[in-house]
Symmetry: C2
Subunit: 227 residues, 2 copies
């Protein structure tokens, strides 16, 4: 436990779970705002958001993101809004179509890796374009580090100016066929961030039941927590 305040990030909705799997998953923008408001009252200070189509499939529609942003600004004043540019919600540049809305933050994956049944494709030219949009619209990137090289690559992009601000780093563990939940790796990730991006904030995200373990590691070591 360090003396530093711990930032709690609530990931509402995500891009996968549906109401048939969990009736509590907020799908419409109104449900998302209501659910985030509860988390905000409970102390969460970052909202990591995806949007969905009416049939619950993932969307990257900027108009939906705009309505969500408006609702959150009204109901959760001061909450940090982070939009996902992840690959489950759209293909190619669609993934960054909401960045002109100037959310406080946006997620950015700077490398490629395997997912449970496919390749999570983040080709170099798309990564560079998303980063340039974030610079243009003054959006702070949260790097989704699915593997160690993603931390190295984020540090390189920060050194050469492709990332205007020091990024926030999220360690993603427990995705099948990517990095497992592993304490030694978690510690080496932290040491690598400290070495290559000194002072950068970081947090951890894990899948399902492992998220609790990961939160304990994060809070104990001075990182932030994701629910």
């Amino acid at each position: 436990m360090t003396g530093k305040p711990c930032i709690i990030c609530v990931a509402i909705t995500g891009s996968v779970a549906t109401k048939s799997a969990n009736p509590a998953v907020p799908i419409t923008v109104a449900e998302q705002v209501e659910s985030t408001h509860e988390a905000f009252e409970a102390g969460a200070s970052i909202c990591h958001a995806h949007v969905r189509n009416d049939d619950e499939t993932p969307s990257s529609d900027p108009e939906k993101f705009a309505r969500l942003q408006e609702g959150l600004q009204k109901h959760c004043p001061g909450m940090i809004i982070q939009f996902s540019t992840g690959g489950r919600s759209g293909a190619g540049r669609e993934r960054g179509g909401m960045l002109p809305l100037r959310p406080d933050m946006a997620s950015l994956t700077v490398g490629s890796n395997n997912f449970p049944t496919r390749v999570y494709e983040n080709p170099p030219d798309l990564v560079d374009w998303l980063a340039s949009e974030m610079r243009a619209h003054e959006v702070i990137p949260e790097i989704e580090a699915f593997d160690l090289s993603h931390i190295h690559h984020a540090a390189l992009m920060h050194r050469d100016g492709r990332l205007a601000t020091r990024p926030y780093i999220q360690f993603v563990m427990g995705v099948k066929n990517a990095m497992p939940v592993d304490r030694e790796t978690f510690d080496f990730y932290r040491a690598t961030v400290e070495r290559l991006l000194p002072g950068a904030e970081w947090c951890g995200a894990a899948i399902g039941a492992s998220q609790i373990v990961m939160n304990e590691w994060c809070v104990a070591e001075g990182g932030h927590a994701r629910t």
Copy 2:
């Protein structure tokens, strides 16, 4: 320096360099056999091989691999032959079309990552199919670890039987947009292999001038060397 014998692996040809870049690059099977023979006389004990079409573009033609194997067995008796199943030489299952030739070893990449201008795609079902072909034909896999999770995934595949033998691990560093040449990472890679695949042999490959640095690290720490 450890007391262990150091295995020298010669990577003839590769999949990128052409005669216009370096007239010494062996392209035809006859040139490959001649070049490997020189390295064999000089002490190399593994030959990592790609094959090429007559126009120097990469190929995965099993017939060419068969002629190379025949030439090497004749001119370099006892040399360990390792065929590349890398993605520059073919798409999908074409990449493993030479495995029924039963080379001693074959390269296997168990995850995806970025390359200089594109995604190096190794989807989970293709990885599992290549591994099953290696099991069926008793080919020892050399894992091309382009990132840390690839070591974890190779260890998992060994634990659950998808890799019949303990794999040989090659750390690949210095490819643009993938893992840079980094000493701390090299040391953590070694520690991770020792923890997850105790006793596994490993070696390092780096791009261009960095290969010499990498060879020094490998030889000093008990790994093998790639030229």
